[in-house]
């Protein structure tokens, strides 16, 4: 698999802090407990970690960067 330079940078960091996993687990169990059919299923369940620790932070970072750029302009 050909990895981009951005990916190589991520490789050097090697891993995600354990505390992030714990936070994601607490959020998952809390939401899952109250909305069982939404998260406690085989589609949303395995994807939750990716959504919580990669997709949401990436989207937020993108929005913040865009907002900062606009402010500077």
């Amino acid at each position: 698999m050909a990895l981009s330079e951005h990916d190589s940078g991520a490789r050097r960091k090697d891993g995600i802090p354990a505390s992030w996993y714990v936070i994601a687990l607490v959020v998952y169990v809390t939401i899952g407990y109250f909305t069982k059919s939404v998260l406690l299923n085989w589609i949303m369940g395995p994807l939750f970690l990716l959504v919580m620790l990669y997709i949401i932070p990436t989207v937020i970072r993108g929005i913040v960067t865009k907002a900062r750029t606009r402010l500077v302009e």
């Binding site: 990895l3 981009s4 996993y21 169990v29 998260l39 994807l47 939750f48 970690l49 990716l50």
Partner: protein, 310 residues
């Protein structure tokens, strides 16, 4: 039925197959028995008999069902890693489900006798939520905990970024590469996708356990064959001698049938299949599993003694 155990066992298997089978294939295999049937189980008149018996969809929990899928995948994709992954994953699911009262028809169609050690009750008759409450009030929940501990203690390395990079991706570079390109996921994203199943297993184990204790308020009954408040769901009333005889005959016929299939066409399919460059197969059991002795055997055979550790 087992719940989170089917998620945890994937990583335990991964630790023992190394680059010899695809992790995604293993995941597909472990989900295969319930993939097309589980949705109908809770609405069936007799859920246990429908899920594990014959007539019903119990054939999905037989060893032959996994073989049929694995051979089909080998014939279509020619990928040995995928075929092996699906087979190992499926068989792991089947063997794990031996522990509930409904059991599994391991040697179907050569024997329709379910094999069970009746550790906890198959409680699908209670509906999905009732099933969860019963499972996490019985030895079923302990079974999940057992698999979690086994995975964390003996296969923790399989969850690390370096293992994912050096073993999991090289074992299936095409699919991980496709995910990387199609969804623009960097290695960090792929790692989270890989670890997601472990996370899901742990998360749902805790959430359903809390549901059983505080919402359903089901009595905690980790006794053999519990919980007592659920109706018995044995789908066979045969005595142990009858089970032993029928299973022995079924097992012998199954082995004979497998041998015949191997000689007639599976061997040919295997030989025309391909391995990814990272997969180093030994002979016998070392062709499938990455055991400590596999590396030693390679070292003995290799003239320069260059051994790649898995």
């Amino acid at each position: 039925m087992s719940w989170a155990a089917h998620e945890f066992e994937n990583y335990f298997i991964q630790k023992h197959i190394g680059t010899k089978a695809s992790f995604i294939g293993v995941v597909l295999g472990t989900q295969l028995p319930d993939m097309f049937t589980k949705a109908f189980v809770y609405t069936a008149d007799d859920p246990a008999a429908f899920h594990r018996g014959w007539p019903g969809v119990g054939f999905s929990h037989s060893l032959l069902f996994g073989v049929v899928f694995a051979v089909a995948i080998l014939a279509i994709t020619r990928s040995r890693g995928w075929a092996l992954g699906v087979l190992i994953g499926h068989w792991a699911h089947v063997l794990t489900d031996v522990a509930d009262t409904a059991g599994v028809m391991i040697f179907f169609p050569f024997s329709t006798e379910p094999i069970t050690i009746s550790m906890w009750k198959h409680a699908a008759v209670e509906g999905r939520y009732g099933d969860a409450a019963a499972y996490y009030s019985s030895l079923g929940g302990v079974w999940d905990l057992f698999w979690l501990l086994v995975t964390v203690i003996f296969a923790w390395r399989a969850l690390t970024p370096s293992y994912f990079r050096e073993i999991v991706i090289p074992a299936d570079p095409y699919v991980w590469g496709w995910l990387h390109r199609t969804f623009r996921l960097p290695e960090r994203g792929l790692l989270l996708l890989y670890q997601g199943l472990m996370f899901y297993g742990l998360g749902r184990m805790i959430a359903w356990f809390l549901y059983a204790r505080f919402d359903a308020q089901a009595p905690f009954d980790p006794s053999w064959g519990g919980p007592e408040y659920v109706q018995g769901n044995d789908i066979s009333d045969a005595g142990w001698v009858e089970v032993l005889v029928r299973t022995s005959i079924g097992g012998a016929l199954f082995v004979g049938f497998m041998w015949l299939c191997w000689k007639v066409f599976v061997k040919r399919l295997w030989e025309r299949g391909y391995d990814v460059p990272a997969a180093v197969r030994g002979t016998g059991i070392h062709a499938v599993l990455e055991l400590p002795s596999s590396a030693r055997r390679r070292a003995e055979k290799s003239p320069d003694g260059d051994v790649k550790q898995m």
